[in-house]
């Protein structure tokens, strides 16, 4: 059933794109040691080390894959990840667009080197600001495991984004640092039973890299509110677990 849904999804995407008179703007490139599947076609590294990607691409990785955006932001996807790449306006009404990553499966390590990134994972929108580094992953239950090594990111709660783009979150600046549990704004209105909706939460995390017996470990401390650690499938009052730096 899941495979059928995926195939139907890819076919729907492709059908919409074939014959489109409007040519797509290249948002960046993706490369891997194994083939990267774009819209159902395996793009082999033997042909090119990096393949251009455009808005609307449905991408599946087999091995870790590096997405480099046109403005030099980096996202290293785990093996067996699936995501959709889109482009959304940098601000309301702006002609300029920026990449928007909708993660369906797996996860990624991000490095927002030159501008903020827009990542929707588990129907929650994460916006690593410029110079932020960290990881976002979906676990087996569909909950989001978040970790930030350095920098700042903003996060909005459940149902705040979908494969086409973020909700109204981006029409204003992210809210003040610290959790802000309460009435929802934008698309985050509906709350799962027992859950807490977080709007415009900004988590500021300081990363301290420590070298212990030759193994690099990042220890994250900071202002994750209890609310911001809620997954869509339930609420856990504990902060997200600290995870090791990904290679």
């Amino acid at each position: 059933m899941k495979a059928t849904r995926i195939t139907a999804c890819i076919l729907a995407v492709v059908i919409c794109r074939i014959g489109s008179a409007e040519q797509s703007t290249v948002l960046g490139t993706i490369g891997s040691t194994s083939a990267v599947v774009i819209d159902g076609t395996a793009m082999s590294p033997t042909g090119s080390s990096a393949w251009p990607v455009v808005a609307g691409d449905e991408i599946a990785t087999q091995a870790p894959a590096l997405l480099t955006t046109a403005d030099h932001n980096l996202a290293t996807f785990d093996a067996e990840s699936r995501f959709r790449l889109n482009a959304v306006a940098t601000s309301p009404g702006a002609a300029e667009k920026q990449p928007y990553i909708f993660v369906r499966q797996g996860g990624l390590a991000f490095d927002a080197r030159s501008s903020r990134l827009l990542i929707c994972i588990g129907n929650r929108l994460f916006v690593p600001e410029t110079l932020a580094k960290g990881t976002l992953r979906l676990d087996k239950n569909g909950s989001v495991l978040q970790h930030i090594d350095s920098g700042v990111f903003a996060e909005q709660g459940a149902r705040s984004c979908n494969e086409d783009g973020p909700g109204t979150f981006l029409t204003g600046s992210p809210g003040p640092a610290g959790g802000n549990a309460g009435a929802a704004g934008g698309n985050a209105g509906a709350v799962p039973a027992g859950g807490v909706t977080v709007t415009n939460t900004r988590a500021t995390v300081t990363a301290v890299a420590a070298t212990l017996v030759g193994i690099g470990v990042a220890v994250a401390t900071g202002a994750f509110s209890s609310a911001s650690s809620c997954a869509t499938t339930g609420c856990n009052a504990n902060p997200p677990p600290v995870s090791t730096i990904q290679p």
Binding site: Q23, T25, I38, G47, T68
Partner: protein, 402 residues
């Protein structure tokens, strides 16, 4: 630093031996040190093109493109040591484009293609450069040269065409051109995914150039029928599948009515679907006319609802007569075998009969209609009925009545 193993080895030697051989040992160690330094310098120095290239990729993947130690700088070093190698030019070109120096990048890709004009990977990378730089026409032209060389990269190139090539006519003209093989492959690539308009545009373009083959036309007809486009399907069928002089759609609306040719299952030809307990074959020994007939052998273990031999027909409004010749041998049970179209059935035969004419008339009213002629055996009211026996069918006709 002297390797500990050398020290341990020296300690095992007698003192007198060491005293006598000391100059020799020093000379040996010095020589080893120099040799190691040379090897180390040669293999790991960025001056070695491969090393610089690898380091360049590392920096490119880390996002360090500009400045000393950046990808551009390292790829330039590699290129200086190895300027005749096209991949060095491609590497530098990709880094330069990432560093937002498209003009320099373009020059690099041009040099790479000049150095290896027949290397598909060099050309693919050059095409990707053009796509990234929004230069669609040179990208399509570059990829088209790869399609001319070999089919290995067809799906990747076609994916690029669909995602980045823009409008279909330009993709076809510049990305496919006069390459019939690539045109057919591109059509097959699009077929499962495309809508009728896009598919039709590609098909028409191929027809104008004479790229269409009969198997493609048969598959195309089936596809059009699936998409509920029977008029278009009929046009393709008449153009490619119908032999010259055939009465099909002139006097007879059944294609291959005598089963003289092996049925393809495509388009408007006979279609035979598998059915457990039933074998359907062409019989070359028994025929009502011509050389062959259709033989259906029933060895059913259950009360069959058989309708697995059929043909699609596209009918204008009017009155029609469906007729066929049937022969039976030891056909058991109370439900016989006959023909059906729309809601009309011919008589059905059981037992043993020589060639017998079955016929029925019906009307199509209103708009043209797609219908299916079927050879049928309905389930018996007796639930323990298990049909056995053999049926031959020949000269199935569907004629329009005046």
């Amino acid at each position: 630093m002297i390797h500990p193993g050398v020290v341990r080895f020296a300690k095992t030697l007698p003192t007198s031996f060491i005293a006598g051989k000391l100059p020799l040992v020093f000379a040996f160690l010095l020589e080893a040190l120099i040799a190691f330094s040379l090897v180390h310098t040669h293999l790991l120095s960025p001056a070695v093109p491969q090393v610089a290239g690898n380091q360049g990729y590392r920096q490119l993947w880390l996002g360090n493109v500009d400045g000393p130690g950046g990808a551009v700088h390292l790829f330039e070093q590699a290129l200086q040591s190895d300027p005749a190698f096209p991949y060095r030019w491609s590497d530098l070109g990709e880094a330069l484009l990432t560093a937002r120096q498209p003009d320099r990048a373009r020059y690099c890709f041009q040099r790479a293609v000049e150095l290896a004009p027949h290397d598909p990977q060099v050309r693919l990378r050059a095409a990707n450069f053009y796509f990234r730089n929004q230069e669609i026409e040179p990208a399509l032209q570059m990829d088209s040269t790869v399609l001319q060389q070999l089919p290995d990269y067809d799906p990747m190139i076609f994916s690029s065409y669909v995602r980045m090539g823009g409008d279909i006519p330009r993709v076809l003209e510049l990305g496919i051109g006069s390459n019939a093989r690539a045109a057919r492959a591109f059509f097959n690539f699009l077929a499962p995914q495309s809508d009728a308009n896009t598919s039709g545009a590609v098909w028409n373009w191929m027809e104008e150039r004479g790229f269409v083959t009969v198997p493609m036309a048969l598959a195309r007809t089936s596809w059009l029928l699936e998409k509920s486009l029977p008029a278009e399907a009929t046009a393709v069928w008449l153009r490619y599948a119908t032999p010259a002089g055939s009465p099909y759609r002139k006097t007879d609306w059944i294609f291959n009515s005598g089963f003289e040719n092996q049925w393809t299952g495509e388009g408007f030809d006979w279609r035979v679907d598998p059915c457990t307990g039933v074998a359907v074959v062409a019989d070359e020994r028994i025929a009502h006319s011509g050389r062959r007939s259709l033989r259906i052998e029933f060895h059913a273990a259950e009360n069959l609802d058989f309708h697995h031999v059929s043909q699609m027909v596209w009918l204008s409004p009017g009155r029609y007569r469906l007729r066929a010749w049937m022969r039976t041998q030891d056909l058991s049970t109370d439900e016989g075998v006959g023909l059906n179209i729309l809601d009309v059935n011919t008589a059905a035969l059981t037992g043993t009969h020589d060639w017998t004419e079955l016929a029925s008339e019906f009307s199509v009213r209103g708009a043209p209609q797609i219908a299916r002629v079927q050879i049928v055996r309905r389930p018996s009211a007796r639930f323990d009925s298990r049909p056995q026996g053999t049926v031959w069918i020949d000269d199935v006709e569907l004629k329009r009545l005046p």
